[in-house]
């Protein structure tokens, strides 16, 4: 059960990151266009944020790792995405006035709006590996499973968003849905984790 919850969170964080990445291109387009530079800026920022997240997540797993803390990471990522709903437009307009080059405009916009939530979501995978591994001989097996689940989640997030969600919903509705599901999953896992702790004591 505990493993299932860990995989669930890791899979969903993969879904979340790619769904947000695809939407971020759309969010930037009215101000910085849809050129190859804008996608280059967006992808660079997401990769750097994930790299940073992996580093921090692994580091944080050294101190009292637990399932509720993993759930807290997802909740934190959901909170960090929320400003995009309200601040994207004024922030992008402000950056539009101050950065003429669409390359640096998109780089700066993507950094300010998406670096923090993506980095937090990136912390989930290495932290999850720590929770799964109880025997160092099987660590590769669990790391592989976890990569499988989170990358599978990323693929699902990509295709769902680009093929279907944008056909029915507005960008902000999709973002709000992603935030809502993250809260739901986070709280669910928190509740399960705590009730387990309570039954133990």
């Amino acid at each position: 059960m505990r493993r299932l919850l860990v995989f669930l969170l890791a899979g969903w964080s993969g879904f979340l990151v790619m769904a947000v990445e695809l939407l971020s291109g759309r969010i930037l387009a009215p101000n910085f266009g849809n050129s190859i530079y804008v996608w280059g800026g967006v992808i660079t920022v997401f990769m750097l944020a994930l790299a940073t997240g992996y580093l921090l997540g692994g580091r944080w797993s050294l101190v009292a790792p637990s399932v509720p803390r993993l759930a807290a990471l997802l909740l934190a990522a959901a909170i960090a995405i929320t400003p995009v709903l309200f601040l994207a437009e004024p922030l992008l307009d402000w950056l539009f006035d101050h950065l003429r080059d669409p390359r640096y405009g998109s780089l700066a916009s993507a950094t300010l709006l998406f670096f923090l939530p993506t980095a937090i979501a990136g912390m989930i995978s290495p932290y999850a590996v720590r929770l799964l591994v109880d025997d160092s001989r099987r660590s590769g097996h669990y790391a592989g499973l976890l990569y499988f689940v989170s990358t599978f989640g990323s693929a699902a997030g990509t295709i769902m968003t680009s093929f279907y969600l944008v056909l029915y919903f507005e960008i902000n509705q999709i973002l709000a849905g992603l935030i809502g599901i993250s809260w739901l999953l986070g709280l669910l896992v928190l509740w399960f984790g705590n009730s387990r702790d309570a039954s133990k004591s």
Partner: protein, 302 residues
């Protein structure tokens, strides 16, 4: 991601044609291919025409064509219909064109309007290069070219207080639509970039589900507009900011412009009957916005 695969299906196709159809009536010769950041550009000659194509087998994917014998004559109905914008305002002095293609349209406009200045925005530097080299597109003082995203250019121009008498929107090919150039917000930015009697001419290719969405989106921003269609794939929307001129005004302007258009190979007898304000679309189709713009999906829905 808007990247094209690195292959030349058209070139392969053409080579195959050359191999297996030696008895073909006219030979198709590829004279240039160019890989750009966004697409593969092929220039070829066939049937006495030189054409620019974006890696597509279908004829309808031709972006721009010229008659080799007389490059001033217009080949496509869509370029002729775009000239219909002059019936709404015959003497524009400042023009903006978003999307260059082979540059046939701006070259003709610059000739008809000797006083006018044209700003042309094209995202793909390779298209500009090919237009200059193979389609005698010749930018200069009056014909300025800007290599950047059309939406970014329009937004900056509006903030800088620039206004245009005529804006020509020709940034779509029927395979890929830049979705941020077909939203209520973008069209509002374009509207604010027009002088009070300014005219917008938009070339679109909608024969699909997108047709109705595109129509309600233009309607939401501009109200009633002239809709010109000849074949299923060609559609031109013509709008004047301070309201559409009626038949009489159109006919008056058409008569004045007749010699200019005859020089391009067509005239008012062909063009005027195409002007229609009939709403032949579902008026309940969802308006496209920056928040909701699945244009490419809508265009390809079965």
């Amino acid at each position: 991601m808007p990247l094209n695969p690195d292959c030349h299906p058209l070139v392969l196709f053409l080579l195959l044609c050359a191999l297996f159809a030696p008895a073909a009536v006219t030979a198709m010769t590829v004279i240039h291919t160019e890989k750009s950041l966004y697409r593969n550009i092929v220039v070829y000659e066939e049937d006495g025409q030189r054409c620019m194509s974006f890696t597509q087998r279908e004829q309808s994917a031709r972006q721009s064509c010229q008659f080799l014998s007389d490059p001033t004559q217009f080949v496509f109905p869509y370029t002729k219909m775009m000239m219909g914008a002059l019936y709404l305002n015959p003497q524009p002095r400042t023009l903006l064109m978003i999307g260059l293609g082979g540059g046939v349209l701006p070259t003709a406009l610059a000739q008809i309007l000797p006083q006018a200045t044209l700003d042309i925005v094209e995202l793909d530097p390779a298209v500009v290069k090919v237009a200059r080299r193979f389609f005698s597109f010749n930018p200069g003082q009056r014909l300025r070219i800007f290599e950047e995203d059309g939406r970014v250019f329009a937004k900056r121009a509006r903030r800088a207080g620039q206004r245009y008498d005529l804006i020509l929107l020709d940034a779509f090919d029927h395979e890929y639509i830049p979705e941020h150039l077909l939203t209520q917000e973008f069209l509002t930015e374009i509207k604010e970039l027009l002088t009070p009697s300014g005219v917008l001419a938009a070339n679109t290719f909608s024969s699909s589900h997108l047709y109705a969405h595109e129509s309600t989106t233009y309607e939401a921003v501009f109200g009633v507009f002239y809709n010109l269609r000849v074949e299923l794939r060609n559609r031109i929307i013509l709008i004047r900011r301070d309201g559409l001129p009626g038949r009489e005004a159109l006919e008056r302007n058409a008569a004045t412009l007749e010699p200019n258009l005859q020089a391009l190979g067509f005239g008012k007898d062909w063009l005027l009957p195409l002007f229609s304000t009939e709403r032949d679309w579902n008026p309940k189709a969802r308006v496209l916005t920056d928040q909701y713009a699945p244009s490419n999906l809508l265009n390809n829905l079965p």
